[in-house]
Amino acid sequence: AQSVSQHNHHVILSEAASLELGCNYSYGGTVNLFWYVQYPGQHLQLLLKYFSGDPLVKGIKGFEAEFIKSKFSFNLRKPSVQWSDTAEYFCAVRDYKLSFGAGTTVTVRA
């Protein structure tokens, strides 16, 4: 069975700071990896995904993630955050259904 672990429960940053959220997964098959974001009062939205190919994937709003197979990791990064990046971020792995991490709440202070 697959599982996902997110390292940070709550991250607080100032605007323009860099962000990195850790995600490790446990799954023996071909992985499909995702980061979803949930802005306050909104529904889950896809931020980026990795299926195969270039392990560095770019998503919306300046986010990127790097798949490191040897480390079973799929960390999310953004070089300079904005106040509008305040949200909850979920890493997920898919076989047919999604298995989510516990989520990381990111608070960006203006």
Partner: protein
Amino acid sequence: GAGVSQSPSNKVTEKGKDVELRCDPISGHTALYWYRQSLGQGLEFLIYFQGNSAPDKSGLPSDRFSAERTGGSVSTLTIQRTQQEDSAVYLCASSQAGSETQYFGPGTRLLVL
């Protein structure tokens, strides 16, 4: 285009009552999923429908939970004899055949008093 829609957006019910939650997937999406988002449990898979195949019910927490999908489109999640621990946001997602990307609806926030 229209996304996944869910109704009601909020539901308050009394313990022991039955509730029905509705999901309208994106038109043409053959796969439909229900998840539950609750404090302490995070996001959990409940049930999966794919076309005309038998649904995967492996995530349903008890036999009080059931779901159906009529005509390969709209789905209804039913919770019988609700308990306080059923309070959560129930999310529906859909995807196209052969696509790994799921698109989520806004959820139904259920509160059992």
